[in-house]
């Protein structure tokens, strides 16, 4: 009686088994390699960005003490509280006072290189606290852009000895520029700030979210829960999928042709920008929303219908709360894309030079990515670091927005 080996005990089988294990190991190693590569690239990006950008949050400043008791500037708190105080201080010769104080400190040569707008900083300080007019106060005033370039080692060779001398005397230094977060665009890199673009981005995103989210969610709910399945809904489905893939600049052209034609006075306004980006974001929300709604088990709908809930109650009490985490995920992706979008906003005029932060949804504004694009286009070396700093602000804003959305998603997440 010959004993036949069981098929799982043969040498061939064991060889095949070994092959199966080694292919599994290969697959694992490939996956880990891919993740490692992405982490390294991300780390490289973050590190270089931070190193470059830190300089952008600093500004080269001259330390100038001003003894106001020796000057003829006179003002009281009441007049300073009124509008036009800066003009009155200017009429009283504040710019000359500042220049004279600088000459005393850093010499004629150094005073020449004081930023042309430096006296405004002094004026702001006086308006904020009029009592300083009775004593001597030391100010850190922005140096001119040429001196700033010389201080960091490039720019005009003629200014470098001066920068070196002033730095050695302790009059010239790089200080953290808290004003970068509160000022707006300017022609002088020493004077620029990000607040205008940040506020523009916030206002634009508010418009985008408040249009795209409700419309997208309602469209997804209607298509999944109510619409009959026929040729028309098929056409709509294909159209929405295609819309999500349309290049963003086309949406910009649409905004230019339609929205600016409807509201011709609102060129560069966050309202128009937000509406244009909403068009772009909506299909993403609709697609993610439909998938999330599809994933809600039908048994939950049955259970609600069987106790006598009306279809609307089923949707708003059960389907929507259960689909919300998925919808929010789609919204995060859509909004993140909208926040980083430049091209369509260029089409509707948001690339204009806007030196004041927008005061509303209809006043001219720019947004962070466009601001980055504009600064990166500047010839001036001083803008290089400012651009990196703006990118950091954009990334932080993005992180903050995503963090909020993830927090909301986790709060609404439920298991069944």
């Amino acid at each position: 009686m010959s004993e036949r080996a069981a098929p799982t005990r043969t040498a061939v089988f064991e060889k095949r088994l070994k092959k199966r294990y080694s292919s599994e190991r290969r697959f694992k190693a490939l996956g880990m390699g891919a993740i490692l590569f992405s982490v390294l690239v991300l780390a490289f990006l973050l590190v270089t960005m931070t190193l470059n950008g830190i300089g952008g949050f600093q500004r080269t400043e001259l330390t100038v003490p001003i003894d106001f008791t020796q000057t003829g500037i006179a003002a009281n708190a009441e007049t300073l509280a009124q509008s036009g105080a800066i003009q009155r201080l200017e009429a009283q010769g504040l710019p000359d006072v500042v220049r004279f104080a600088a000459q005393q400190r850093v010499g004629d040569e150094g005073a020449e290189e004081l930023g042309s707008q430096a006296w405004r900083l002094v004026a702001d300080a006086i308006i904020a606290d009029p009592t300083i007019l009775d004593r001597e106060v030391s100010f850190d005033l922005p140096a001119s852009e040429d001196l700033s370039a010389a201080y960091s080692g490039d720019g005009q060779a003629a200014l470098q000895p001066l920068a070196k001398r002033l730095a050695e005397q302790g009059h010239l230094s790089n200080n953290f520029d808290e004003g970068f977060l509160t000022r707006s665009d300017a022609t002088d890199p020493q004077e620029v700030g990000i607040w205008g673009a940040l506020k523009g981005s916030i206002l634009t995103m508010l418009i985008t979210l408040s249009l795209a989210f409700p419309i997208g969610v309602l469209a997804a709910l209607y298509l999944e829960e109510y619409a009959p399945k026929n040729r028309w809904t098929d056409v709509i489905e294909v159209s929405i999928n295609n819309l999500a893939a349309v290049p963003s600049i086309i949406f910009g052209l649409l905004g230019l042709a339609v929205f600016l034609w409807l509201f011709p006075n609102m060129r560069s306004a966050p309202l128009i920008g937000g509406m244009t980006l909403a068009l772009m974001t909506m299909p993403v929300i609709v697609i993610a929303g439909r998938n999330a709604i599809k994933a809600v088990p039908p048994s939950i709908r049955d259970g609600a219908l069987a106790v006598g809930a009306s279809p609307v109650q089923v949707v708003f009490h059960h389907v929507l709360p259960l689909a919300l985490p998925g919808i929010l995920t789609g919204t995060i992706i859509g909004m993140a894309r909208a926040l980083g979008e430049t091209a369509p906003l260029l089409m509707i005029g948001m690339r204009a030079f806007v030196a004041t932060p927008p005061d509303g949804f209809t006043s001219p504004a720019t947004v962070l990515p466009v601001q980055i694009f504009l600064w990166s286009d500047e010839i001036d070396r001083g803008f290089v670091e400012r651009t990196s700093a703006a990118i950091i602000v954009l990334l932080l804003f993005l992180l903050l927005m995503n963090g909020l959305a993830i927090y909301l998603r986790n709060r609404f997440e439920k298991s069944w």
Partner: protein, 261 residues
């Protein structure tokens, strides 16, 4: 009119006359006529795919959710045609509750699961009244002792049998007149099944109960009336004792003796 000459006349809660159900062109139910008594438990038995669940779902119009489904014939509740135009489906489903094959509690707290029906129908005026409804329903479903200290826990955290009793509590919280049960024990172990069967016996009389079941033993244990379905037709309907001991049709006999099914 009584279509079942072999049965003594009792109060009829629901009646069906010549009911056919189509899914698109496919006929799933063919010309079924049946009376559902008020006092008793009625069981629908039959092999898989014979249409017993489909027929059950026509009785509270749950088939409306399937776009291709079409119902012909007449089904009445207390003499009122439930498929007439102008019938309020929401009200119908509040009067004819349903328990499903797979326990499907909402992913909400135990309390909210039971309170959901009374809340949307506005049955409870105040929080204390709602508390009472929830407690009464859970007591009737035999679940109160097990969950009274954790009403805020998620309904989905309960065991399968407890979930099914929660679903029964959810159904009886809106005080229906009829409860339809679609294979309520098929996903449960024998102990949980026994509990549900006990519960059905307790609920009998208060509600007209229709139960679809795969298990002939279960039909024999819990019901007074049994209908045997085969290939979309109702083959035989009668007292449960008659169906199991003295079936009139050979197909019924073949099924209950285990020849097929």
């Amino acid at each position: 009119m009584n279509v079942h000459s072999n049965l003594d006349t009792t109060d009829q809660k629901m009646t069906a006359r010549g009911v056919s159900v189509f899914y698109g062109d496919k006929k799933a139910i063919d010309d079924v006529s049946i009376d559902i008594p008020t006092e008793y438990v009625t069981a629908f038995i039959g092999p898989s795919g014979c249409g017993k669940s489909t027929f059950l779902r026509t009785m509270n119009r749950m088939n409306d959710t399937i776009p291709s489904a079409r119902v012909e014939g007449e089904i009445t509740l207390d003499g009122e045609d439930i498929y007439r135009s102008g019938m309020d489906v929401v009200q119908l489903r509040a009067r004819v509750g349903m328990v499903f094959q797979k326990p499907n509690p909402f992913p909400k707290s135990i309390y909210d699961n039971v309170a959901y029906g009374p809340k949307i129908h506005g049955f409870a005026e105040s929080k204390s009244e709602l508390d009472e409804v929830v407690e009464r329903s859970l007591r009737r479903a035999g679940l109160w002792q097990e969950v009274k200290d954790r009403l805020d826990d998620s309904g989905t955290a309960l065991s399968g049998g407890q979930q099914q009793r929660l679903c029964i509590a959810r159904a009886i919280a809106v005080d229906p007149e009829v409860i339809l049960m679609d294979e309520p024990c098929s996903a449960l172990d024998p102990i949980a099944t026994a509990k549900i069967e006990e519960l059905i016996a307790e609920l009998k009389g208060r509600y007209a109960i229709v139960i679809v079941t795969h298990s002939m033993q279960q039909a024999a244990r819990v019901s007074e009336r049994t209908a045997f379905f085969h290939l979309g037709k109702m083959v035989e309907y009668g007292r449960t004792s008659d169906i199991f001991t003295n079936p009139q049709e050979t197909r019924t006999q073949d099924y209950i003796t285990g020849r097929y099914g």
